[in-house]
Amino acid sequence: MTRYIIRRLLWGVVLLVLVLALLFVIFRILPTADPAKLRAGRIQNPKIIAEIRHDLGLDKSLPAQFWIYIKGIFLHFNLGYSYYSNAPVKELIFNRLPATLSLVLGGAVIWLFTGLSIGIISARRAGSKLDRASMGTALVLVSAPEFWLGLLVLFFFASDIGKVHIFPGAGSYVGLTTAPDKWFTSLIMPWVVVAAGTAAIYARLLRGSLIETMGEDYIRTARAKGLSERRVVLRHGLRSAINPIVTVLGIDIAVLLGSSVLVETVFDIPGIGRLNYVAITHSDFPIVQGTVLFAAMFVILANIIVDIAYAYLDPRVRYS
């Protein structure tokens, strides 16, 4: 198992380098703006552009730039500097990470809890009105754009601009270590919005998975033992039905860590997603590279963790 993990991690590193190479190429092939020209402003003077290119290291060949970048990462864990603020990308990312982690992990707790609860209830009462109502709601939530949902809850429940003043509104986020209570209240609405769509997906997923599992022979065995229905469903049924959820959970969290830009924007939460988005709009490559590197790393790690969790959850799975 350890060897397997090490091999996966090494392969992950190779994958990251490939991702970075791909990014390097994409950002120079796509018709995005030239950062030197952006910075040179309206009175474009070749000498100034050349100076800026030199400043930013853009005058070197593409492979040379890539080599310097990769070397920086592996030797010093240096992800470069923003073309604009000159801030170290590593610092920016670590500065933004807590907000995104708070948002995504808290959201994950909510979507897991509600998604699984609704999924179980729906599966146990498949075909009932309750089931149809919750699956219908799920369909709406899945298709509701997060951005729109975010605006909606803000205009209804935000303490500053809402119809009823309940929860702290946009821009109220503070760090967990600064003020835990404010951290919590400021994240309630973002969590709900982040969780809504995913909870709906999970509810549907678990419903299907649980209905299938409940038809298994070992569920019949569990019932024949004289176990209560509650124990049959929650211990024997859920234990198996949860497996597909674990797979998507890992990937969902990982992907969201890099792409929660819409919720971060609506609620004005300074996270990774927004950092990445703004960097893209400004052709601030070092930040784009850094954030995508992190996002890719999350995905790779999530995959490894999911696989390990799989081996833990399903004793029949063994890696070598």
Partner: protein
């Protein structure tokens, strides 16, 4: 493998976002593009404030202002700043030699300079005395001297600073053009408080006019040199202030992560070494907290319904509407001044539009009111009738709002009969263009600009032109197509210009002076306008001294530009800003109407 697939998707998503993002990024009009402004006398909705009428005195001292803005700053180094949001910071923290009071864009006020500059040697020598008793903020603390301004000007040519405009305005400073960093021979502190600038050409007027830009604010060499030695310079993140406010820093002077968290927040606190007696700024506020990011629809409502808040970038269209209807006293619309223009650039150097009559025909045929309506209507636009604008010297002389009395300009809704007349004059007796070539039209893909581009394209078709319309993202339009000689683009319907400072030369020179065209590179002369007579007139006018005289000289150039129909102007932009009801917001007319922290107060 699952991981690989997911990662590829992530990367592709990032790439796709680039494209999307680019579409939506038109508002970062920092460098290339437009601006907005409108003319003071153009009608504003009832109860809405106009920056030129605001009272600059009598504010209440104290309090903390909360500023929200969707966009981040770009470069806070006074030697690099070139963006209205950046100016909002530099204007309150850095004292340039000359500055504008909030309600003007043509009259400068001596700021760090003690008085007007002395020009001698046939406009080739500038002598400026600087004010005594101005001190740098901590950790430098000492008094500002002329040597600090000398270093500030020296460093614009330092490749590590790479000031974006110095070759445009300071090219004539002795030694500037060939500088590779280090001391510029033409800039000398000849005394503790006296600065002399020697020029190789008699262009002192434009050099002096440019001194409102933040590059002329003092920088202490003994402190800054080590940061400027970095590639690129790190002075932005350690800068010291000379104005009433400073970006919050630590004892080592570090700002990054303390007074400025990129993409997140910035904090301005009082500069403890600033003395009110040395400055014209009242500096009522104790502190300004700037929150960066958020959705314009949300932060707009927060400002309108909250307290102690302003939004320093443009509010979303629904918010402007809401403000006009329900909170007019919290809305300021800045018309003209530092706001900009939009016009249709037409290629004067290549293709059918070398023919002046075809250019006039397009001007006549264009329904400029419709284009303005597409951009948001009268609240944000006045129909543009010539190339100078309100608040700039020469505007009235060149026609004011109604503009020159030429038939192709007299019908803002467009007039096909007049257009036909010019088509015939151009040699197309049917009144329609009959050439076989296809016009290359390149526009901005994001709304509302794309709608304008479509409308212009259909006007071209009505005139008989075959066209190929290509809509690309805003920055791509500027960096790869419009203004690139080799691309041979015929029409760019979405270009615009804001002036770097309130001088008519800053309005007309770069976009229309053929002598500035570079063959390989991007030009801001998007129509490649190159008429020797006009070029020569600009050369002469640049040397004229005095606001009124310069206005008259450039007004004549404006008339020539209209006579040649070098482009089809359609929008003098107006810029709306919102504040909370308990904020007495003062807006900088010269800076598109953004808030001036040094004059704004809480009620």
């Amino acid at each position: 493998m699952r991981a690989l697939r997911t990662i590829l998707l992530t990367v592709l998503a990032a790439a796709a976002m680039t494209a999307l993002a680019a579409c939506g990024s038109s508002s970062s009009s920092s460098s290339s593009s437009s601006g907005t402004a409108s003319s003071g006398s153009s009608g504003l909705p009832a109860g809405v404030k106009n920056p030129v009428d605001e009272s600059l005195t009598g504010g209440k001292h104290g309090g903390v202002l909360n500023d929200v803005q969707s966009e981040d700053f770009e470069h806070l180094d006074p030697g690099q700043a070139y963006f209205q949001l950046d100016y909002q910071i530099t204007n309150s923290t850095q004292r340039a030699l000359y500055s504008y009071k909030p309600n003007t864009f043509s009259q400068t006020t001596p700021d760090l300079a003690e008085g007007e500059p002395k020009l001698s040697d046939g406009n080739k020598l500038i002598t400026i005395n600087i004010r005594k008793g101005v001190h740098f903020s901590p950790p430098v603390n000492r008094e500002v001297t002329a040597a600090d301004v000398e270093y500030a000007i020296d460093r614009v040519a330092n490749p590590n600073v790479a000031n974006p405009y110095y070759l445009g305005y300071l090219e004539a400073v002795e030694g500037m053009k060939s500088s590779k960093g280090g001391q510029i021979p033409g800039v000398k502190a000849t005394g503790k408080y006296t600065l002399q600038i020697k020029l190789t050409e008699p262009s002192a007027p434009i050099v002096v006019a440019s001194m409102v830009l933040p590059y002329s604010a003092p920088v202490p060499k003994e402190y800054a040199a080590k940061f400027d030695a970095k590639k690129p310079s790190e002075y932005a993140n350690y800068q010291v202030a000379s104005g009433p406010y400073m970006l919050k820093n630590n004892s080592a002077g570090k700002i990054l992560g303390i007074g400025y968290q990129p993409g997140k927040s910035a904090t301005l606190v009082r500069n403890p070494n600033w003395k009110a007696s040395t400055d014209f700024r009242p500096a009522y506020l104790n502190q300004i907290n700037i929150a960066i990011g958020g959705d314009a629809n949300v932060i707009g409502r927060q400002v309108l319904e909250g307290s102690d808040m302003v939004q320093s970038d443009a509010p979303a269209a629904p918010i402007v509407k809401l403000a006009v209807q329900q909170h007019p006293s919290q809305l300021t619309i800045s018309a003209g001044g530092g706001a900009g223009t939009r016009y249709i650039a037409i290629n004067n150097s290549y293709g059918p539009f070398k023919n002046v009559n075809l250019r006039k025909a397009l001007w006549a045929a264009t329904d400029r009111e419709e284009l303005d309506r597409l951009r948001g209507g009268k609240t944000v636009a006045d129909v543009m009738t010539h190339f100078l604008w309100n608040g700039i010297a020469g505007f009235e002389e060149s026609g004011g709002f109604t503009g020159p009395k030429v038939d192709y300009n007299e019908h803002p809704q467009g007039d096909m009969a007049v257009a036909e007349k010019y088509m015939k004059l151009a040699g197309y007796p049917s009144g329609k263009y009959t050439g076989s070539e296809t016009l290359q039209v390149v526009g901005d893909s994001s709304a509302p600009a794309n709608n304008v581009a479509e409308a212009v394209n259909s006007t071209l078709e009505k005139l008989g032109f075959k066209t190929k319309l290509n809509l690309v993202e805003h920055t791509v339009m500027y960096s790869k197509y419009c203004g690139v000689v080799s691309e041979k683009i015929d029409v760019c319907p979405n270009v615009g210009w804001i002036a770097d400072f309130g001088d008519p030369q800053a309005v007309l020179d770069v976009p229309f002076n053929g002598n500035l065209i570079v063959q390989n590179g991007t030009n801001s002369n998007w129509g490649l306008v190159n008429h020797p007579k006009i070029n020569a007139a600009m050369e002469a006018a640049s040397k004229v001294v005095g606001v009124k005289a310069r206005g008259e000289a450039w007004a004549k150039i404006d008339e020539e530009l209209v006579n040649e129909a070098v482009a089809v102007p359609y929008q003098w932009a107006k810029e709306p800003y919102i504040e909370s009801k308990d904020v007495e917001g003062i807006n900088d007319y010269w800076n598109s109407g953004t808030f001036d922290y040094s004059f704004t107060s809480l009620k």
